[in-house]
Symmetry: C2
Subunit: 163 residues, 2 copies
């Protein structure tokens, strides 16, 4: 009857790193650090000197950037921070548009817990995907790749490692 | 180690009503209609003539109101619409603050499907609840009560019924 439908998903990704909670937190809070592991030469169109259209890491602030896939649509990412607890937690929603069409909206909770070995990071995304434009399985896969980038980045960043 | 924790929940509520999709959609889109079933004399503090601090039903627009429970905190509700398909779908995020503290953030998808008997409404909420301030089970219960209010309101609104 309608080509409109919504797919609801929740996925959780947990990683450990020898870095401290403050170092892992900074990898999300500081745009220069974030670009080190978040950017991909294949996909991220650098919008300005820092690669972001906007990077305002505070409650109510936005992070925005655009990127395109080879032979694919141009995506616009827009996050708005809801809650930030220094070195412990970041909660935000983000929306994706594909060639200007609403693609998905997600809630993300990132929790940082100090352990004897360093930090355990838990990333939880709750998403609503509209009309089959984007594939939730690919979103989870891409997010997993990004967090593995982060773990690699942090392992070179800190000289001591016990994980 | 920390009193910070997040509870992630998803719940779905489905109701049928003899009203048409356009009538059910209007019950969310028109503030005068919405107040007929959404308000509760026990809880809703009427902020202005229409009971809303803001009611801007369009993509990117906000709906805001405040209310308090007897001997409880004062809650601030702030929704932002992400996607609206006339008579078919509404997608938004909403945040709750309790006495100014971040309480929860949720994604809501409301889908309206025409059936022989009228309309099937499917409400899906994906929520992240912070630090135990609010109880997800009470949220689901309260939302169920509201949608039952809506069904009652719509049953008196439309003279014909076959459900």
């Amino acid at each position: 009857m309608s080509d409109h439908f919504v797919t609801h998903v929740t996925f959780t990704i947990r990683r450990t790193t020898p870095a401290s909670p403050a170092q892992v937190f900074a990898a999300f809070a500081d745009p220069r650090v974030k670009l080190q592991w978040q950017s991909s030469p294949d996909t991220l169109a650098v919008d300005d000197a820092e690669g972001y259209l906007e990077f305002d890491f505070r409650v109510g602030g936005h992070e925005r950037f655009g990127f395109s896939m080879p032979n694919g649509p141009t995506f616009s990412y827009d996050a708005e921070y809801f809650d930030i607890v220094l070195d412990q937690r970041i909660v935000y929603r983000y929306t994706m548009h594909a060639d200007g069409k609403p693609d998905s909206i997600s809630l993300v909770t990132i929790e940082f817990v100090q352990t004897a070995a360093g930090t355990t990071l838990t990333y939880t995304e709750q998403g609503a995907f509209l009309d089959g434009i984007d594939d939730p399985a690919l979103r989870e896969e891409g997010t997993t790749d990004l967090l593995d980038n982060l773990v690699r980045y942090l392992s070179s960043y800190t000289p001591t490692s016990s994980s």
